[in-house]
């Protein structure tokens, strides 16, 4: 009796499994992309890639950490081919954990400058975003903003005038990691203590709400990524955001020395990729003029190939000098950056 029950139970369990499991073993060519970049506009790009090559793009998205745990658990059986993310720290971290393999494509090596690739070509940048200062020209004088650097933001002048989002945000973590890489932990901590004292309010909201705060006169300057203002100016966030963004001016920090902090969206090929050839084709496609044009025009990021110009709205901000601090350092110093911001009381 028990035996037959167990048997039928086993059978039931099997049926349950089969009915729940998504059939993933189809004969079509495919590339499996693990991504923590999940912009709607990318879907159009992927569809275009499929149209061109016949290779189906399968997407699984999640935060970098979550994807890493999933990859760890899947081990050698992982179906993942490409890892794609919006934060350099994450990329560097993946590379250090040995999840990525070198990209062999000569084409990619030829068109992408060396600072936008991993040390052994484990990853390649797909788009760039600068973390800059936006200010309200009504309350900030030309003198104050001229030749400004991130370091200057700790000065008395800015007391109660700065808004920035929470230190849980990865863009802030990368920025502070880049400061640690350039100034050392001790000086960065001194800077952070003063900087936090200059906040106009407890950090809250996203980059866009910092820009809104400045536009509405709640603060004088905000730190935010360039593409947010692009989205706002293009009217994608509604008429009110467009008007607010028009009140703002941009300042690229550290133009006198190492340049403005730049973070990247980038991708690499996973170590156990079952479709390596497709993965390389996919990355090559993302770096093609066609895909780059699509990216700059829809997500308002900066392109990584020099034959394409940024979106006109972004191009209007002008050229700037980019900080060439190694992206790998962002990953190395990220944990230190988090702890440092904790100690400085940056919420």
């Amino acid at each position: 009796m028990i035996y037959t029950t167990m048997k039928s139970l086993k059978f039931l369990i099997k049926i349950l499994f089969f009915s729940l499991i998504v059939v993933g073993c189809s004969p079509v060519e495919e590339v499996n992309v693990y991504t923590s970049r999940h912009y709607d506009v990318d879907d159009i790009l992927y569809a275009e890639f499929t149209k061109k090559t016949g290779i189906k793009v399968n997407i699984i998205s999640g935060s970098g950490g979550a994807l890493m745990e999933r990859l760890k658990a899947e081990g050698q059986n992982s179906p993942g081919d490409v890892f794609f993310t919006v934060d350099a720290g994450n990329l560097a971290n993946f590379q250090k954990a040995g999840f990525l393999q070198p990209i062999e494509s000569e084409n990619i090596k030829n068109i992408i400058p060396v600072e936008l690739r991993g040390p052994n070509n484990e990853w390649v940048a797909i788009a760039k975003r600068a973390r800059v200062i936006f200010y309200n020209p009504k309350s900030v004088t030309e003198d104050e903003i001229k030749n400004i650097s991130y370091e200057d933001l700790s000065s008395e002048t800015w007391k109660g005038r700065i808004v920035v989002r929470s230190s849980s945000n990865m863009y802030n973590q990368s920025l502070v990691a880049s400061l640690i890489s350039n100034l050392g932990i001790k000086d960065t901590e001194i800077w952070a203590n003063e900087f936090v004292n200059n906040f106009a309010r407890t950090p809250q909201g996203n980059d866009r709400s910092q820009l809104m705060a400045v536009a509405n006169g709640l603060a004088d300057i905000a730190i935010a990524n360039t593409y947010y203002v692009g989205i706002m100016l293009a009217g994608k966030g509604g008429e009110e955001q467009r008007k607010a963004a028009q009140k703002l001016k941009i300042a690229f920090p550290n133009q006198d020395n190492r340049g403005t902090h730049v973070n990247i969206s980038g991708g690499g090929i996973l170590k156990y990729s079952p479709n390596k050839k497709n993965a390389e084709m996919f990355l090559e496609f993302l770096l093609s003029e066609e895909a780059q044009t699509h990216i700059v025009n829809n997500s308002f990021e900066y392109p990584v190939i020099n034959t394409i110009a940024p979106h006109p709205i972004i191009a209007k901000f002008g050229d700037f000098k980019m900080d060439k601090t190694s992206v790998a350092d962002f990953g190395t110093y990220n944990p230190e950056a988090v702890k440092l911001m904790d100690r400085a009381g940056w919420k």
Binding site: I60, A66, N77, S168, G205, N216, E239, E240, N334
Partner: protein, 534 residues
């Protein structure tokens, strides 16, 4: 035959319980991996702040949900007042809007140029360049959670109130008790287990929430867990923090159990009818309507209109993507609802029959799954499934990254919901029924199928529907466990919100609310019809 039954129940429930405990045990195991520098840093620098904020949040939210939930439940079950028939079910409506979504909505409304400020300015209530206090604060979060979660207390308390038998109240009245006295002496002790069951759910939900507190940038335990994991790249320390949180949740479950142990039973075969309701007049009538209307407005009607107003701002309306996301969401939610409820029935039945301390302990232990932050739970499950795949590899089954893992997570996450509902439902009919049935020769299957399930009807429906509304809203575990190309509505909303394109989240958000309304429709219908039957 009898011998076999006994074995089947115990073996089956223990096996299932064990399976569902594994991911939770994995989280606790982290405590044995040793503590590193990051842990020291957390203890020295931020732990006090995390604990204090979490504590204040839970206490504040508890006060709000008790105040709104219990009083409104009492009002609609005891009195008749203007709109009471509508408010009776409308009070559940905020359940359709998850806390993170309400947080997104409230944030937009209370932005400097948000709709709340615009309305106040146009009514000249505040000056042209002034603004209302921002909602992104601890007190703002308390209000958001309070409004979003009070229906748990309201719903369970109301079901309990309706099941208090008329004779008890009538005897009290005959014996000269006034309303207040019969409330504190008779009604309150009877509904106390229900109130605490609802409150426990609210507290667990608040403690394990990530979306809303992250959006408000409030340093709580959960934000700390994710910061440690994703910022310090340190999963072990993150899991150690999660273990501390779980211990607190254990304590809460224990306290709730203690409350329940003292509970008294009542027979529910004679519920009150509408004609028994006392008609309120004048100012009392107005106050009762007002009291019940405010939470509905704040928790449902106003947010709904705000989201609808977003949809006007966007041009690309809805696509095939949303339809797929909705279908996926429904499929998952209903499957998880049925499985979880079936398990809860079996477990509670076994508990009632065997009365074994051992099974009770297991039952309490899996209930903790509700308090496990979704992402941490998802990690535990991914690790489990990988082992499982290794064992099953000869028949080529891959469960990692399949819907199986996702449903597994939902069941663990929502077991406490079904358990609380069924347990308090079971408490309401005496075990003497079981004894009579067994004396008359009914097997355990007959007892369960023919006697308990019909009696538990209300509880079963409530529990399936609670799970459905929980799954529709679930976010973090879904993000990590879902298969390729598989989006749910919650994932879609989250994606837009994290890309700071909240207006484009309008349609998926409305879909979440719409799907959330279906269980609410059935719940209120069912409660009403159960009233009619009696």
């Amino acid at each position: 035959m009898k011998q076999f039954n006994l074995n089947f129940w115990n073996i089956f429930t223990s096996f299932i319980a064990l399976t569902f405990s594994v991911p939770i045990i994995l989280v606790f195991l982290s405590l044995f991996f040793g503590f590193n520098d990051n842990f020291d840093h957390i203890v020295n620098v931020v732990l006090l702040e995390y604990s204090l904020n979490s504590l204040l949040l839970v206490v504040g939210v508890s006060l709000i949900v008790l105040f709104i939930g219990v009083i409104s439940a009492l009002l609609v079950t005891t009195f008749r007042f203007t709109g009471s028939k509508i408010l009776e079910w409308a009070l559940i409506l905020p359940l359709a809007i998850p806390p993170y979504l309400l947080a997104y909505v409230m944030t937009e409304m209370f932005e400097y140029s948000g709709s709340a400020n615009s309305i106040f300015r146009s009514l000249n209530l505040i000056s042209e360049d002034a603004a209302l206090p921002t909602i992104r604060s601890l007190s703002g979060a308390i209000i958001v959670f309070g409004i979003a979660l009070y229906p748990y207390v309201y719903l369970i308390t109301r079901v309990a109130l309706m099941n208090i038998s008329k004779p008890i109240l009538e005897s009290a009245r005959v014996l000269g008790s006034n309303n207040f006295k019969s409330f504190t002496k008779i009604v309150l002790p009877l509904i106390r287990p229900a109130i605490f069951a609802g409150l426990a759910l609210v507290c667990m939900e608040t403690l394990s929430d990530f979306g809303a507190v992250q959006h408000f940038a409030i340093p709580t335990f959960t934000t700390g867990i994710f910061r440690t994991w994703l910022g310090m790249y340190d999963l072990i320390t993150a899991m150690q923090l999660a273990s501390i949180l779980l211990l607190v949740i254990c304590l809460m479950i224990f306290l709730e159990r203690k409350q329940r142990a003292n509970a008294e039973y009542s027979l529910s075969n004679d519920s009150r009818e509408d004609s028994d309701l006392i008609q309120l007049k004048g100012i009392k009538n107005f106050l009762a309507s007002f009291f019940c209307l405010v939470p509905v407005l704040a928790g449902f009607i106003i947010p709904l209109f705000e989201i609808i107003s977003w949809s006007v701002e966007i041009t690309n309306i809805f696509s095939i993507k949303f339809i797929y996301a909705s279908l996926n969401t429904m499929l998952l939610a209903i499957t998880a609802g049925i499985i979880t409820t079936m398990l809860a029935i079996l477990f509670n039945f076994n508990l009632r029959i065997s009365k074994s301390k051992h099974s009770k302990l297991i039952n309490d232990f899996i209930s903790m799954g509700y308090g496990v932050p979704g992402l941490i739970l998802a990690i535990g499950i991914t690790q489990c499934l990988t082992y499982f795949d290794l064992i099953l590899s000869d028949i080529g089954i891959i469960v990692t990254g399949s819907l199986f893992g996702l449903i597994f997570a939902y069941v663990i996450k929502s077991y406490a919901l079904t358990n609380n509902v069924l347990e308090s439902n079971y408490k309401q009919f005496s075990t003497s029924i079981d004894e009579s049935a067994r004396i008359l020769g009914a097997s355990k299957f007959t007892l369960l199928g023919n006697i308990h399930i019909p009696l538990l009807k209300t509880g079963i429906f409530t529990s399936v529907l609670l799970v459905v509304s929980e799954v529709v809203k679930e976010l973090p575990a879904t993000l990590i466990l879902r298969p390729f190309n598989f989006d749910t509505l919650a994932v879609t909303v989250y994606t837009y919100a994290s890309e700071e394109r909240i207006y484009e989240a309008a349609f998926p958000a409305l879909f979440i609310i719409l799907i959330g309304l279906i269980p609410i429709y059935f719940i209120s219908n069912m409660i009403r019809s159960s009233k009619g039957l009696n």
